[in-house]
């Protein structure tokens, strides 16, 4: 079919040469005489040709000089849908021409035909039935024997399919160009036979070259920075070697990151990929793509810098850091982490499971707590690790003590810190031992002092009795007795300091009314206050202030505070005692005097042992232990004692106690608070001691 069609097509084209003859045959219709005469002269061969013209598959149309149709063949009728009778007398343009034809082509055709010259071009026509189709139009003018223009003959080839294919190709090329531009991907191809390099528009844009510039392979290499050029040359050399060694050509596949110059000198990075294309005879073309990855590389480099910075920071910190992924596999840790867990160092590698790492350590005896019970220990440690909200203390085989803080990130990663608290633990232990030894020492000394005091106090007591009336002796025994009593108060105070260690365990707490306890002490000290014409003012009516207290010890505190106030308040003044129920915040008891007050700088130090305020250090009989003991007692209650100087004058002492615990849980919480306070105090004491040393 194809061959036949091609043949006819070829024949049709060949027939162009016969156009003159055909014009004579077909167009001179009015001259019947001539036609008859010609017909008589027609040989069978001409008749055959005329039939061919009529039946050829290409459309043929003949017009007169006024460009009105005088003859059409069968193919024209099929193509346009107009019968010969309908077409005759019509203008082909008006009958068929469609608006889509390029206006320039239309103008060129009109000029050619007006001048009686041939025209070749592509036009868009519409058939009778509305089909739009492309034609390749070849129009030749026809001349009579005198050389005058007698008409035109047009050969029409339907090229719709080709035009559509071309449009599709243009469309896909445009799409390719657009996507290449958007994606920053340029294409290139190198023909191995012709050594021609072909670039896509995007490649020209990347290289900042004019699209008409024809690059050679050497031009392409000249666009590479030296290092990238070496990469390519090495790859080419390898490919050539492979080819010589008859290595499977399928292996040929390039994927490099290259640094290039554009024509204007801009330096940029591309990912260059290439493949080899084959025909039956072997490789014919190298086809590749260039993707601009400059921005991506800069982002990656920036990211890398950030990661390096972060890792550097983590490596620099003195604490061990570790990160596990949501599957509990090690992502990263710093050197300090490996150093701490030296026994299991070889197991601490990225990708290793947390469980495997700790099990390795446990089996090697790294954790003294795991010895003899590895499985149980690992299970417990794993549970705490998964919970990731606890702070643990871990002892290691090398004697180090670590505080472990583990937290879970929102995406499931677990961050761990190990703080080496060995020195802190040692210092705390030492401080505790020292404190214990100090308490024991004080207790021993106190007891040892009590025995001689027995003689001093006892004999002086007997002496002052027997010397009654003998003035010098009575006074001497009285002085010895008072001295003995003062020494006893000191010894008892020392004993209290060592006994009340600031924790709740040292007290027997019971629910009690703090205001009533205060009133009892005020009553007891009434005579002492009266000696100095002081008024002890209690609130009226007395509030009820419930708290969990050791009544004996709390009264000891109140007695101490009140006695101080009585000692230092100016004669005839008032000492105000107030009580407040702060509901959830507990209760407070305040004692306010109008004495000399305490300088701001001494407000805290007066609670230290053997310290008295500079304004009251007058040998007024205090042991210097009263406020120290009071503070210990208040802390052991989970409460506090604070001194302040109100705006005008005097001293305000505030005793605070937590609210009475309703449940065992609350009691436990309070107990914890007391322990913490005690620890803080111990820490501050040890700091003081260190500072002193």
């Amino acid at each position: 079919m194809m061959d036949w069609h091609d043949l006819l097509h070829g024949a049709g084209l060949a027939l162009c040469g016969l156009s003159l003859l055909l014009a004579v045959l077909l167009c001179w219709g009015p001259s019947r005489t001539l036609l008859t005469r010609l017909a008589q002269r027609m040989t069978p061969e001409y008749i055959h040709l005329a039939q061919m013209a009529r039946r050829t598959t290409d459309a043929i149309v003949v017009t007169n000089a006024a460009r009105r149709i005088t003859w059409v063949n069968e193919a024209f009728e099929r193509l346009t849908g107009y019968g010969a009778a309908e077409a005759k007398g019509q203008s082909p343009g008006r009958l068929l021409q469609f608006d889509g034809t390029d206006p320039l082509t239309v103008k060129r055709m009109r000029l050619a035909l007006d001048a009686g010259e041939p025209f070749n071009g592509e036009v868009l026509n519409r058939s009778k039935h509305g089909r739009i189709y492309w034609l390749e139009l070849k129009i030749n003018p026809l001349f009579d024997e005198q050389g005058h223009l007698s008409g035109f003959m047009a050969l029409q080839y339907d090229i719709t399919e080709r035009k559509q294919a071309e449009a599709a190709l243009r469309g896909s090329e445009a799409l390719l160009d657009k996507t290449g531009r958007i994606g920053g991907v340029g294409g290139w191809a190198y023909d191995l036979a012709t050594h021609r390099m072909h670039w896509s528009n995007q490649t020209y844009r990347l290289m900042e070259r004019d699209p008409n510039w024809q690059p050679t392979l050497e031009d392409c290499l000249a666009h590479c920075l030296p290092e990238s050029r070496q990469t390519i040359e090495a790859a080419i050399a390898e490919a050539l070697a492979d080819a010589q060694a008859h290595v499977q050509p399928e292996r040929f596949s390039w994927d490099f990151e290259l640094c290039l110059y554009s024509a204007t000198g801009r330096v940029f990075w591309v990912r260059a990929t290439a493949e080899l294309e084959f025909s039956d005879s072997g490789p014919v073309r190298v086809v590749g793509a260039l993707q601009d990855i400059t921005a991506r590389r800069e982002l990656k480099a920036e990211l890398r810098r950030h990661i390096d910075l972060l890792r550097g920071a983590i490596d620099t910190i003195d604490e061990a850091f570790v990160l596990y992924d949501p599957d509990d596999r090690l992502v990263f840790c710093n050197d300090k982490y490996r150093d701490l867990y030296d026994t299991s160092r070889d197991a601490i590698v990225p990708g290793a499971r947390f469980e495997d790492i700790i099990r390795t350590g446990a089996e090697r005896g790294q954790y003294p707590a795991a010895i003899g019970r590895v499985d149980e220990w690992v299970a417990g440690r794993l549970a705490a690790h998964r919970e990731a909200n606890r702070t643990l203390v871990q002892r290691l085989d090398n004697g180090r003590v670590l505080r472990i803080v583990e937290r879970c990130m929102p995406d499931g990663h677990r961050v761990g810190f190990r703080v080496d608290i060995t020195d802190l633990v040692r210092a705390t232990d030492a401080a505790e031992r020292a404190d214990c030894a100090k308490s024991e020492f004080i207790a021993t000394i106190s007891h040892e002092l009590r025995t001689p005091l027995q003689s001093i106090i006892g004999f002086s007591d007997l002496g002052r009795h027997f010397a009654r009336g003998q003035v010098p002796f009575e006074e001497m025994f009285e002085d010895i007795h008072q001295g003995g009593q003062r020494m006893l108060r000191l010894v008892n105070g020392l004993l209290d300091v060592s006994k009340i260690d600031g924790t709740q365990g040292s007290l027997a707490l019971k629910r009690g009314d703090v205001a009533r306890l205060a009133a009892e002490v005020a009553h007891e000290l009434g005579p002492l206050a009266a000696q100095r014409r002081l008024t002890l003012a209690l609130p009226e009516p007395l509030p009820v202030l419930w708290a969990d207290v050791d009544a004996f010890r709390l009264q000891q505190v109140i007695r101490n505070v009140l006695a101080n106030a009585i000692r230092f308040a100016p004669e005839g003044s008032t000492i105000e005692i107030q009580g407040h129920d702060l509901d959830r915040a507990g209760v407070t008891l305040t004692v306010r005097d109008h004495g000399p007050g305490i300088p701001e700088s001494e407000i805290e130090t007066i609670f230290e042992a053997f310290v008295q305020s500079s304004r009251t250090r007058d040998g007024s009989g205090g042991t210097g232990l009263g406020l120290t003991i009071s503070r210990k007692i208040m802390q052991a209650h989970g409460g506090s004692i604070e001194a302040s100087c109100p705006a005008h004058s005097g001293t305000l002492i505030t005793l605070s106690l937590p609210p009475a615990a309703a449940t065992g849980e609350a009691r436990a919480a309070k107990s914890l608070r007391a322990v913490r306070l005690a620890l803080e105090q111990a820490a501050s004491q040890s700091t003081t001691e260190h500072a002193d040393a």
Partner: protein, 124 residues
């Protein structure tokens, strides 16, 4: 009849203080400077009251107290323990031996005198 008080105490000055205090009110005072001697005197003299120091070399006061309590012939003699150890636990340990009272040093001579008078009164 004058009540007899036995003081078992290793310190001379304390023994003297006790003797002066008690003799002042007419008590007959016997003295032992250690636990062994004190127990022997308690058995031989059958005092009306024993004042017993806790911290003594050799047999200490607690041991003496327990021995007195275990001896049917001596267990009826009221005993007062004297000690510089004043903590609750110390007092409890002392009282647990069966003594009648526990006096913490330094005590007042008048306080001792009142206690001894009370414990040796005919009603006792």
């Amino acid at each position: 009849m004058t009540p007899t008080v036995l003081t078992i105490e290793d310190q001379d000055d304390i023994r003297r203080l006790i003797r002066m205090t008690l003799e002042f009110k007419g008590f007959r005072v016997l003295e032992a400077e250690n636990g062994t001697h004190g127990l022997a005197m308690a058995r031989s003299e059958k005092p009306d009251l024993i004042l017993l120091d806790v911290m003594m070399p050799g047999i200490d006061g607690l041991e003496v107290g327990r021995t007195l309590a275990a001896d049917s012939a001596l267990s009826r003699i009221p005993t007062v323990m004297l000690s510089a150890l004043g903590a609750g636990t110390d007092v409890d340990a002392g009282m647990a031996t069966g003594v009648r009272a526990y006096l913490i040093k330094p005590f007042s001579p008048w306080e001792l005198l009142d206690l001894v008078t009370e414990l040796t009164a005919p009603a006792h």
